[in-house]
Point group: C2
Chain length 456, copies 2
C-alpha cells in the first residue's frame, strides 16, 4: 500500500490517459494543472489522435510510452477504463487515479467490479473512480481539474464530494490556508480513507488530516487506522448525513450507506478523531493544528483590548471546557505593567482600549513565559490608538517564539482585514469571532489530552 | 421619551461640547465625522479657546450658541459635565450624549447621580455616560468617534461595549452590512435598551434591532418593550456573561450585575427575542432579517449544484427544525427540467455540477412559484462550467422578485468572493458555510411563527 501511495503522491512519471487539446475539457485542464503547478517528473499525455499537447509530446497509446509509468490519471469514457488497466500492467504502473464517472454512482456496479478485478490482477491500486484528482504540494503535483495555485501547507484534505472539494480548494487559496494534499476519493472502490490515513500518518509534510465523508464501507478498518494516526497527528472529520433526511440524501448522492450517526460519533470519539460540526469549524481547527503547537493543559489566558470580547471569549471557554484561571500574584503584577490603572489583571487580561502593539507584546510575552499558562487567546478590537498591522506584526513575532499555542480574534474594518491576511500568511490562526478562536483552542487541547492519555 | 429620542436621531441642531482642534482627539474626530458623513442640520462646536474648527464657527460656551440646541454631544472631563447640563437647559436641549468616561464605571457613582439629577430637572434625557456616540444613517448623523463611512441600511445596532461596538462598525463596512443606527449605551444611567426599543419599533428606517448586552437593570421593563417590539420587528440579542466566569468579567467590565443566565434565556424566549450564540450568528441573522421577507412556514426547498453541500444543509435543517419535505409530483416534474438525467428532484434538489446560472434561475423560480414551498436555501459550489458572477446576478434577480425568503451559500475562490460581495450589495443574505445559511433561515422562521402566534 505504501508503495502504491508513494506512486500517487511522489511519482517519477505521470501519464494522462485521455489528455485533450481542448481547453475546458477535463483531459486538458488536468494536463495543464500538472504542467503549470510545476511538477518536475516525466509527463506523458496519451491521446490516439494528438502528437503534442501544451508543448508536451503526446503518445497514441499507453503502450507507446517509453519506460515506466508510475502514476496514471485516467479520464476517458467509463467503458474504456478496464482495458487500459491491462495495458498499464505492462508499464509497471503502481497506481491509477480514475477520474471517469459512469460507475457505481450511476448504478453501473458491474463495470466498477470489472475495473477493480483487473486492477487487482495487475497489482495496480485505484483512487476513484468518479473523482476530480489528486494534489500533493511537496512534489508540485496538481493532477486535478480543480483550481491550480493551491497554497502549499501541511493540511491533507480528503473529500468524498467532488463539487465541494473543488470549491473548497479555491476557497483555501482565497483564505490563505495551506494544503499538503487534496485527495478526491469518489466511489472509494479500492483506496479509501483508511489507506490514506496510514500514508499521511508517516508523511512528514502533513501535520493534520481533514476528511469530508458521507459514509465508510469498512468502519473497523477506519477506526483502527484512525486510532494509530491520532497518536501522531490530529484527524478532523466532517461527517455529512447526520440527520435522517441527510442520510437519505447522502445515499442518493454517493450511493454509500451512511449508517447510524450515533455509531459514527461514538467510534470517532473512541479513536480520538475530532468531529467538526460544519465546514467553517473543520477548517478553523485545521488552521490551528497546522501550526503544530501543542498545549500542555487547559489553563488559558485571554489577553484583550476590549472588555466585551473578553467576556464573550470567557463564556465560550467555559462552554468548551477551557479553564480561565485566576492568575497567581506574580503573574498579575507582571501584567499590570502593560495597562492603565483601570485595566484588569484578572483573567481576561483587559489591556483596555488604550493598548497599542507595545502593550500586546508585553502581555503576550508575559503569558508565554509563565509556567501557570498552557495556552493563550489574543483578542483585538480596532481602535484609534492602535495600528492593526503592527498588532499583527507583534502577534506573529510572539507566535513564532512561543512553544505555547495562541489563537487570535481580530474585529474591525479594512485595516483589520489586511492584518488578518498577514497573520494567516505567517501561519498564525486568526478568526473574525471570539467563539471560533476558542473552539479551535479547545480542539487543540482535546487532541493533546487524548494523545497523552490514549485510553481516555 | 419619543421626543427626546427624536432629538437624538433626527436633531435639527447639534452642539459638540468639547470640540477640539487636534486630530486624534475625541472632540475633533466626532466633529469631523458629523461634518463629513453629511449631516445637514446646524453644527455648533463649543470650545472656550477656539473660534473655528474644521471651517465651522466655534462657540466659547453653550450659552453663546444662537438659538436652540436639539442634541448635545458632550466630551469634556467628567467633573465638568453636570454644570453643562444646567446650561443646556437654557438652550431647550432635549437630549445629550455623554461621551465622557469617569463615572460609575470607575466607581464614581455620585458624579453619575448628580449628572442624572440635573438632567431630570432640566428635562434632558441622557445617553451614556461612557459611550462612543450615536449614529443614524437616514439623517446622515455620525456623532461617534468610530469609523465614518458606515453603510446605510436597516439594522439598528445597540451596544453596551465601546471597543467592540467601534470595531464592529468598521467590520460592517468591510462586510457590506447596512445599518440604520448605532447606539453606544455605555453605563445606561438614563436611556437604556428598553427606551431605544420603543423608539426603533416605530422607526420606519429600521427592520431589525441587534443588541449586544452584558446586563439589564430593569428586566421587567425590557421584556415589556421587547414583547411589543417583536410583534413588528425582530430583536436579536447577543448577551455576554453567560458563564460564571463570564459574569464576573462582565461585572468588572461595565459594573452591571449580569444576573442569572437561565433567567435571561427564559425571559428572552417569552418575549420573542432571538438570542444569538455569538457575534457571527447575530449579524448573520440580522442580514437575513434586513431583507424583510417573511416565511409562511418551515417547509424549505434546498437547491444545489453540489451533492455534499446539499447533504450538509439537510443535516443543519433537520437540527434547526426546518422541514426538508418531499416535493409533490408536479413540483418534481417541474424541477426535472433544469437538471441532467442523474440529477435529483428529491429535496435537496441537486442540479449537479453541470448546472449553470440558467438551471439555477429555472429551479429557483420554480420553487418560488409553488405553493408548497415556504422558503428556499440556494447552495453553490464553484465549478468550471458555471460563472459565479452570473449565478449572483440570477440569485439577485430572483431574490428581488420573490416574496419568499432565500438564503444563500457560495463556496469557492476569488470569483466567488466577488460574487458574494455583489450579493451583499444587493441585500441578498449570503454566507460562506451551509450551516450559517440554514441558521439564518431558521431564525426567520422562528420569528415569523412567533409573530403569528404570540402566545406560543
Amino acid at each position: 500500500m505504501t508503495e502504491a501511495l508513494d506512486s500517487v503522491f511522489k511519482p517519477k512519471s505521470v501519464a494522462i490517459i485521455g489528455a485533450s487539446r481542448s481547453p475546458g475539457k477535463i483531459g486538458y485542464e488536468i494536463l495543464r494543472n500538472i504542467k503549470e503547478y510545476g511538477y518536475k517528473g516525466k509527463i506523458y499525455p496519451v491521446n490516439p489522435a494528438a502528437d503534442e499537447i501544451l508543448d508536451i509530446k503526446c503518445y497514441h497509446s499507453v503502450l507507446d510510452v517509453p519506460g515506466t509509468i508510475d502514476l496514471a490519471i485516467i479520464s476517458i469514457p467509463a467503458k474504456f477504463v478496464p482495458p487500459v488497466i491491462d495495458q498499464l500492467a505492462e508499464k509497471g504502473t503502481k497506481a491509477a487515479v480514475v477520474i471517469s464517472s459512469g460507475f457505481s454512482e450511476v448504478g453501473n456496479k458491474e463495470l466498477e467490479e470489472d475495473l477493480i478485478r483487473r486492477a487487482r490482477r495487475a497489482g495496480i491500486r485505484i483512487i476513484g473512480p468518479n473523482v476530480f484528482g489528486v494534489l500533493y504540494s511537496p512534489t508540485r503535483l496538481n493532477a486535478t481539474f480543480g483550481p491550480r495555485d493551491v497554497r502549499p501547507g501541511n493540511i491533507a484534505f480528503i473529500t468524498q464530494s467532488g463539487a465541494l472539494g473543488i470549491a473548497l480548494m479555491g476557497w483555501t487559496v482565497t483564505e490563505k490556508i495551506g494544503l499538503s494534499a487534496v485527495v478526491s476519493v469518489g466511489n472509494k472502490a479500492d483506496i479509501d480513507d483508511s489507506d490514506l490515513l496510514s500514508w499521511f500518518r508517516k508523511d512528514e509534510n502533513t501535520n493534520v488530516v481533514l476528511i469530508y465523508m458521507e459514509g465508510i464501507a469498512d468502519g473497523r478498518k477506519f477506526m483502527q487506522e484512525a486510532r494509530l494516526t491520532t497518536q501522531f497527528k490530529p484527524i478532523i472529520v466532517l461527517k455529512a448525513g447526520k440527520s435522517k433526511k441527510g442520510m437519505v440524501a447522502a445515499s442518493s448522492h454517493t450511493g454509500s450507506m451512511a449508517g447510524s450517526d450515533v455509531v459514527y460519533s461514538a467510534s470517532f470519539k473512541q479513536a480520538g478523531v475530532l468531529r467538526a460540526e460544519n465546514l467553517e469549524q473543520a477548517f478553523d481547527w485545521a488552521l490551528a493544528f497546522s501550526a503544530l503547537k501543542i498545549p500542555k493543559g487547559r489553563r488559558v489566558v485571554i489577553v484583550t483590548n476590549g472588555g466585551g470580547v473578553g467576556v464573550m471569549a470567557t463564556d465560550s471557554c467555559e462552554a468548551a471546557g477551557l479553564e480561565v484561571f485566576d492568575p497567581p500574584e506574580d503573574l498579575r503584577k507582571e501584567f499590570k505593567r502593560y495597562m492603565p490603572e483601570f485595566g484588569s489583571v484578572k483573567n481576561p487580561i483587559d489591556l483596555t482600549g488604550m493598548a497599542t502593539h507595545e502593550e500586546f507584546r508585553g502581555a503576550l510575552r508575559t503569558a508565554i513565559k509563565h509556567k501557570a499558562v498552557d495556552c493563550i487567546i489574543a483578542l483585538y478590537c480596532e481602535t484609534a490608538v492602535s495600528d492593526p498591522i503592527k498588532i499583527a506584526d507583534v502577534v506573529t513575532e510572539v507566535f513564532h517564539t512561543s512553544n505555547k499555542p495562541i489563537t487570535v480574534t481580530m474585529i474591525g474594518g479594512e485595516n483589520v482585514s489586511q492584518a488578518m491576511a498577514l497573520l494567516k500568511e505567517h501561519g498564525v490562526p486568526v478568526y473574525p469571532d471570539t467563539e471560533r478562536a476558542v473552539s479551535a483552542m479547545a480542539a487543540l487541547v482535546r487532541w493533546a489530552e487524548r494523545r497523552s492519555h490514549p485510553t481516555m
